[in-house]
């Protein structure tokens, strides 16, 4: 017969710390959820009724295609806002990202300041920028472009500086050894290494910006969102559905385009 185990009293105990951490984590999350539900007045029943209401509402929303010709102008404006926001954001992010990378900026104060500014800028969502800028810069596409510019700049500079910091230091050392200063090191050793990744990030930010530009009109920052809100306030649900369908198609098309462009990069 096969050997039986030795006396079971020899089984070593599980280290106490592991079990405590696991139990404490679980308890924290359950408590957090319960407090959140209590504070927001949310119940699981709301989930069912909410979903029911949603689909009943959605069922009434049959697209009214006669509104379609009126959609194209604002849709074009939406794309234009996303395009300019991405472009200007990129232009501003390119110098900034090198200021925020530890391997291209050795001055610790500059590094800390540029990183902090980017962190603060990134903590504000694009729609909030638009809401703040619309009263300042007049209702219309301008606050939208500026909002997306600020947001894209912060995101791209952050992603870019992470890429730059991950770059191979070998070529940088080689260029520095020829007597080149910081700017030349960046141009000849860093840019070629990060160009492809950065381009892919720019396309990614463009995708985000298209999604953002369809909604910033809700706060008066131009694009199709303005028309969406207006039709909604008139309870013109047929028109609203038409707009939503067009938005849906636009976002999917831009995503597909971006995926295709990124596949060309590699």
């Amino acid at each position: 017969m096969l050997p039986e185990p030795a006396a079971t009293s020899q089984i070593p105990e599980r280290p106490a710390g592991q079990r405590k951490v696991a139990a404490a984590t679980l308890a924290t999350f359950v408590a957090l959820f319960l407090v959140s539900a209590w504070q927001t007045g949310f119940s699981v029943g709301d989930l069912a009724t909410g979903t029911g209401d949603f689909f009943r509402f959605f069922g009434r929303m049959v697209p009214d295609w006669s509104y379609l010709p009126k959609v194209w102008g604002p849709i074009l404006e939406t794309i234009q806002i996303a395009y300019l926001g991405t472009l200007f954001g990129t232009a501003l992010a390119l110098p900034l990202l090198f200021l925020a990378s530890a391997n291209t900026t050795t001055d610790r104060v500059t590094l800390a300041v540029s990183r902090s500014v980017l962190t603060v800028l990134r903590s504000i969502p694009d729609l909030l920028y638009a809401a703040l800028l619309a009263p300042i810069l007049a209702i219309g596409p301008l606050p939208g472009v500026v909002a997306l510019t600020l947001f894209s700049m912060a995101v791209l500079a952050k992603l870019g500086s992470e890429t730059v910091e991950a770059a191979d230091p070998g070529p940088m050392e080689a260029v520095r050894a020829t007597g080149a200063g910081r700017n030349r090191v960046i141009v000849y050793a860093v840019v070629p290494q990060v160009a492809a990744t950065m381009t892919s990030y720019i396309l990614y930010v463009f995708e985000i910006n298209v999604r953002a530009s369809v909604i910033i009109g809700l706060v008066g920052a131009g694009g199709i969102g303005q028309d969406l809100l207006a039709r909604l306030n008139f309870f013109a649900y047929g028109d609203v559905s038409t707009i939503i369908v067009v938005i849906f198609v636009l976002v999917l098309a831009i995503d597909a385009l971006s995926v295709w462009a990124r596949s060309k990069l590699i």
């Binding site: 504070q39 927001t40 709301d46 234009q80 903590s123």
Partner: protein, 276 residues
């Protein structure tokens, strides 16, 4: 003159021309840059932009008080700012939890390597991507119209959007697992359910948790603006003060939002680094 000199005397003369495919790539790249810039110029011209005077007036009347507010925030509304930010936070917690719980089963259907193979995977992923296409604020508008204003509308909007986002990522994680341990459990006499609990779940759980936290960071930002359309959170007091141009109070609310988001990001980032 130069032609008369021996070839090795003038380095410039001996430089070989680049092969045609390199030249074509350079031309294509230059063409792309020119196109991008031309498009930008056309866009700026055709866009409906306000006059310079209007922008200058707007900056003077509104931006100056807003910036002044950052230096001298209205502390009287700090309690309101904190309590509505807390509500925002709680909304994000519930929205993310709902999204994660519902995305969990869906992602196993959408992953091509476990249940039923590609039969469910293609339609499953299509549905998840389609859900993700709708920005949560758009969903929030529909929920506010359907069920009335308040945090529940915002929670539902975030929950649904998160299902799409997390479901797609979860499915990708599941497709990336190591099939070896599954085989080991089967070889030891375990059925499909035991393979799931003993091999699949422990492999995917840390990455699932990390992505849920990441989604929570995004949802917290999103939740700060859901109030703009009446779906609960700090966005409502913010938009009210924006409408009445009470810039110093807007500044106070902004400070609380920024501080909260930065702290939560930092905490969540630390936990995520420990998870994977």
């Amino acid at each position: 003159m130069r032609d008369a000199a021996p070839a090795n005397a003038s380095p410039a003369a001996s430089v070989p021309t680049p092969p045609p495919q390199v030249r074509r790539a350079n031309v294509a790249r230059a063409g792309l840059v020119v196109t991008i810039l031309l498009l930008a110029v056309v866009t700026v011209i055709t866009l409906d932009l306000p006059s310079l005077e209007r922008v200058a007036r707007g900056l003077k009347n509104n931006a100056v008080p807003l910036l002044r507010g950052f230096v001298q925030p209205r502390w009287e509304i700090a309690p309101l700012a904190f309590s509505s930010m807390a509500e925002t936070f709680f909304m994000a917690v519930i929205g993310t939890t709902i999204g994660a719980i519902l995305a969990f089963p869906l992602s196993f259907l959408a992953a091509g390597n476990l249940l039923g193979g590609t039969r469910f995977a293609v339609p499953g992923k299509t549905v998840l991507v389609a859900i993700r296409t709708f920005p949560e604020i758009l969903l929030a508008i529909i929920f506010v119209a359907a069920t009335g204003p308040g945090p529940t509308a915002g929670i539902m909007a975030m929950g649904i959007h998160s299902i799409g986002f997390l479901g797609k990522i979860f499915a990708d994680v599941i497709e990336g697992i190591d099939p070896g341990p599954n085989e080991a459990i089967r070889a030891a006499g375990g059925g499909a359910l035991l393979v799931f609990v003993w091999s699949v779940v422990p492999q995917v759980l840390p990455e699932f948790a990390s992505n849920v936290l990441y989604r929570f960071e995004i949802n917290l930002r999103a939740a700060t603006v859901l109030g703009l359309v009446g779906a609960g959170g700090i966005g409502l007091p913010l938009i009210q003060r924006l409408q009445f141009r009470r810039w110093e109070e807007v500044s106070m609310l902004l400070i609380v939002i920024v501080a909260f988001v930065i702290v939560v990001d930092a905490l969540s980032g630390r936990i995520r680094r420990r998870l994977v």
